[in-house]
Subunit: 202 residues, 2 copies
């Protein structure tokens, strides 16, 4: 049976979205049909020209619709601390958690030998240059707690040897609200090695 | 932190889609940004005016971009058999399985006392009228194997008493490729009651 062309096309396009299979794509297309006409029109308006309206902040690599981005232009933030993340997604996660008030630097890359990825020279040089120009005093490396994140961390640390900044890394440990029972061995080991002294033997 | 307006708006709109939570909506919005510009533009073009291009077939209730729909206008189909389904989604599932070559009738409703839903009189009258006008000889009721589907089935059967057609219902039983171990009690009971005789005692 041939479904209406635009319905098929919509299903095919939805299916390309991350985590969307054939059935979900069809459900989504039906959903759009069942909504008031304004839903499809708003979504269309939002998508059309999207990539002209959103670009990358030239300073930090965040996504933005003005230059520099909202974070970089916020004078209330701590402008001497730089949090280095792998991707804009990571930046937004930290930002939405509301736990950090310094600036960011999006690497836009990582060291992952298995995927044949490496940080290019310009990426690290850009970080070092920014630290100098913006008079950064502390760099917090917030790479992901995985092998690739660790390799990326070391690549950055190696390169920061030439700069005069404090460097730290996000702590590894038990996720708050999680349970020891379900923690994997690596996390348990990390949380044991990073254990916090509560009282010292006298 | 304020994300670019159109990015936020896109995330909000994606989040309304069925099965999409906050994190998935954000991943989808990022995905769109990372695709070639043609993806967002194609999706926009497909959505804009969608509800003008797609409407409901006046004969069977299928979605279509021409009148009557592809199924109703297909002269190679068995035009004396009518499969009654609750929704267009059900019609498409049966159609894509490629197991049926008659016509359809979408009820667009069901009997569900818990949700306060009932088949309106016009819905059943429309079915009876169509059976007469289109000289239907067999009606296959393909309501869903749930309480609501059963109630809907009975409402249809009651009403079809006044017509001269054969009426059947999709069989209940073990899903092919499934396992008895994981079948629920109701399915096991249904498959036992509908058991197929292989050899008769002499
Ligand atoms: Zn920025
Ligand atoms: Zn039709």
């Amino acid at each position: 049976m041939s479904l209406p062309d635009s319905f098929e096309r919509l299903t095919v396009l939805f299916r390309k979205l991350p985590g969307v299979g054939a059935k979900t794509a069809r459900r989504m297309a039906f959903f759009v049909l069942q909504q008031p006409v304004s839903y499809a029109e708003e979504l269309a308006a939002c998508l059309s020209g999207l990539k002209d309206r959103i670009f990358t902040c030239s300073r930090c690599g965040n996504i933005t619709d003005r230059e520099p981005c909202a974070v970089c232009s916020d004078l209330l933030r701590d402008r001497s601390t730089l949090c280095v993340v792998e991707t804009v997604e990571d930046l937004i996660s930290i930002e939405q958690a509301g736990v950090y008030s310094g600036l960011y630097h999006v690497l836009g890359g990582r060291v992952s030998p298995l995927d044949g990825e490496d940080l290019d020279e310009e990426c690290l040089a850009g970080l070092v240059r920014r630290i100098g120009e913006d008079r950064i005093r502390e760099v917090i490396i917030a790479t992901n707690p995985r092998i690739e994140g660790d390799l990326t961390f070391h690549a950055i640390v190696d390169r920061l040897g030439e700069t005069d900044v404090s460097v730290s890394r996000l702590a590894y440990g038990l996720p708050v609200g999680g349970s020891i029972e379900f923690a994997d061995r690596t996390t348990l080991l990390a949380s044991l090695e990073s254990r916090v002294t509560v009282k010292r033997k006298e």
